[in-house]
Every structure is written in structure tokens, then in C-alpha cells.
Amino acid sequence: MAKNGLDDHEKGLGRREVLECMVWAGTGVLWTISGGVPHSVGLIGEAAAAEPATGFTFLQMSDSHIGFDKAANPDALGTLREAVAKVKAMPTKPAFIIHTGDITHLSKPAEFDNADKVFSETGVQIHWVPGEHDIIDEDRGKAYLERYGKGAKGAGWYSYDDHGVHFIGLVNVVDLKGGGLGNLGAEQLAWLEADLKDRSNSTPIVVFAHIPMQIVYKEWGWGTEDGMKALDLLKRFGSVTVLNGHIHQLVQKVEGNMTFHTAMSTAFPQPAPGSAPSPGPMVVPADQLRSKLGLSTITVMQGNKPLAFVDKTLAG
């Protein structure tokens, strides 16, 4: 697969500039879906206040790593609690949360229990996909599927519709090959093709998976080997939004009708691509940690207005 970094900012400036400035302002992601094209509407507080009654909000949370207790954050459960407190304090209750994987650090039952307990305090439905840390139990993913896989296919992929938007949760952390990247596999791609077959091009699509679907940084395995095959199936749609986690930092890219977004972790930050010897947990001064952690709030508006998003850190 050709190397395809997130560095081609030369073309298509416009809403991308606005999007990225919003994201890198480091506050909160607020997605507004409509007419298919994403754009940002403002910070969480402002945007929520400005929403018409017909809009609905959902959140992206990611990489909770419950059980992680090393130097980069000795209390990953504590910072998840802080994130959940922010959710509870939102003026508009989100319709649901999409969690883009690595709920736990080691797939232990107690870690899943602790995560479930804290997430349940949000009082809203959560749509999950697994990260590689969620399927390292002895039975390689059985623990995850027993908890979160009801109604899902294969290793845990599924789709659902909400407010006219088609949401697709994919699994790209299973059966990875030596030297390779994230992997969807032929069975899941065939399912995706069938899932999309009868949908009109005007249906807004939101795809979410743990590892970035595009190649962010191949040297660290930050991408999906057969991700382009999935994206090719989605090309004909007027609006495709791809939500990923795994890299514990914000990356935003817009290509034609596709918008790519990776969320912050609620547990610990990871270095920017190539800026450290390895992608391992990045230790930052304690008073800066919360500015590197966060969640994304996404508001879907009805009518002919585009989808928008804002990222919010735990420091804000």
C-alpha cells in the first residue's frame, strides 16, 4: 500500500481550514450532519446552546485503557470519570456514545466491569468497537463479544440507522499479519458491500473503527492494510465521516466527501508520528496531562446544514 501521510494540505483549503483550526484549538468535537458535508459549528457549550430542537448530539470517546496504571497516567479510571462528568454536565444530553476501542488495557473482566460501571453513569446507549487491547483475553476476543457483541457479526462489526444517518462499526484489530497494519479481512468487506448495496448515495454515512482506516504513519502501524477497499465502497456516498481512535491524538483530514477524524484518549497521550523512538505512552508533566486527553462531541442537525464537530479536552 502506498504511503499516504496526513500531510497533503496543499489542495482543497476552505472548510478544512475551519475544521482543523477547530480541532487543533483543542476544545471539543461537535459534529453536525446534514446535507452530507461536515463542518464545525463551535465549542461544545456555544454550539449546544445554538442547536435547534431538531438536532441530535452524539459523542465519540476512545482509548479508555481501563487498567493502565503506568507513569503516563497512574489513574486511567479517574480520568475516564472526569470525562464522564463532562458528558453528564452537557446541556444537551447526547443521543448515544460511539466508543472507538481500547476500552480496557488488558481485556481483564475487572477492567471491563470498571469501565462499564463508569460509562453507565452517562445514562446513554454506547455503540462499541474493539481495540487490540480488548481482545487479548485467553479466548482472543470472547470476553469482548460476550459483553458488547450482541447482534454483531464476525469479530463484532455491525451497522445501525439513526436520524437518517447510517452508522457502521468495523473491526480492524483481529488476526493481524506480521509486518502488516490494521486489518478488516475479506469476510467483513463482503458484509460491508452487502450492507451498503441498497442505500442511496445521499445517505450520510458515519464509519467508526479503532485503528485509523487511512494510513497515518505506517512505521508505527497506524493505518489499515485493506482500509482503502472499504473506502472505495463508500466513495459514491455524498457524505462519509470516518471516526477512529488508537493513536491517542487528534488528526483531521478532509478528502472530497470524506472526513477523517481521530479522537483523543481519556487515558494517556501518544507522541506525534515519528517524534519519539516508539508510539508508547507519552509522559507529560502532571499539570499538562488533561490538556492531552479528551472526548469529541458531535451534533447532527436536520435540514440542509452540514455535519460539524468539536474536540474537548479534560482541561477545559
Partner: protein, 128 residues
């Protein structure tokens, strides 16, 4: 829009895999691994045939042993890794920080392996 563009430039530059980054990527893990191996070797000389995992790197990346040798992998990272043979001769469970896994090589051959969580991490055991 102009002011927005100026905000974007540093971000774009950050993700440009320029020469400096490439050098850092190439030399970083190697130097890091050598340093780490130096310290580990002092502690673990009693245990020969050890492959360490530091900074998402197997050290040594290629290791030649005699038939019947037991090789032990030790994870020193803050992140779990595992060890999976490409041809399924061996597969460890997830190794948390300081966990280890041992496998005894009863047959000669070349055993390519990788980390199932981070498959860009690869190593090789040559059994003669």
C-alpha cells in the same frame, strides 16, 4: 481564512515525514534498543537466550540458537505485547510490563515472529 491557513501550517509540517523524521525513526529504536539491551544484559546474563522488548522493538531482532534451546521473551514496555510465530509454531499470551514467555525450539528452522497487537514489530529466531 488567511489567519486560519497560518494556523494550519505548523500542523501540516508536523505530519510531513521529512528527512529529520526519517533519521529519528531509523536511529531512535536502534539506539534505544542497544542502550536497553546493555542494561538488561547486565541483569540477565544468567539467563542466556533472552529476547527483550523495549520501545516496540525485539532485541536482538534476529537470534541464532541451537536445537533444543529455550528462548525467553521479556516485555519492558508500558504497553502489552505478544509473540506470534508466522507459521503458528508458537504464540504467547499478552505480556504485560515485565511479563515473559518461553518457548523451546525442538526443530531446526527459521521462525519469523511478530507482535499480534503491533504487527510492525517483527523478529526472527534461527534454530540450527
Amino acid at each position: 481564512m488567511r489567519s486560519l491557513v497560518s494556523h494550519l501550517r505548523p500542523i501540516a509540517a508536523r505530519f510531513t515525514p521529512g528527512r529529520a523524521v526519517v533519521v529519528a525513526v531509523l536511529s531512535g529504536p536502534i539506539v534505544g534498543a542497544l542502550l536497553a539491551f546493555g542494561t538488561v544484559a547486565a541483569e540477565e546474563t544468567k539467563e542466556a537466550n533472552v529476547v527483550t522488548i523495549d520501545n516496540f522493538t525485539f532485541t536482538p531482532p534476529e537470534f541464532t540458537v541451537a536445537v533444543g534451546t529455550t528462548v525467553k521473551w521479556i516485555n519492558h514496555d508500558d504497553i502489552p505485547h505478544n509473540v506470534i510465530n508466522k507459521d503458528k509454531a508458537f504464540r504467547s499470551k499478552a505480556l504485560d510490563t515485565d511479563d515473559s514467555y518461553s518457548f523451546t525450539f525442538a526443530s531446526a528452522g527459521t521462525y519469523d515472529y511478530f507482535c499480534g497487537l503491533h504487527p510492525h514489530m517483527q523478529g526472527k529466531i534461527v534454530v540450527k
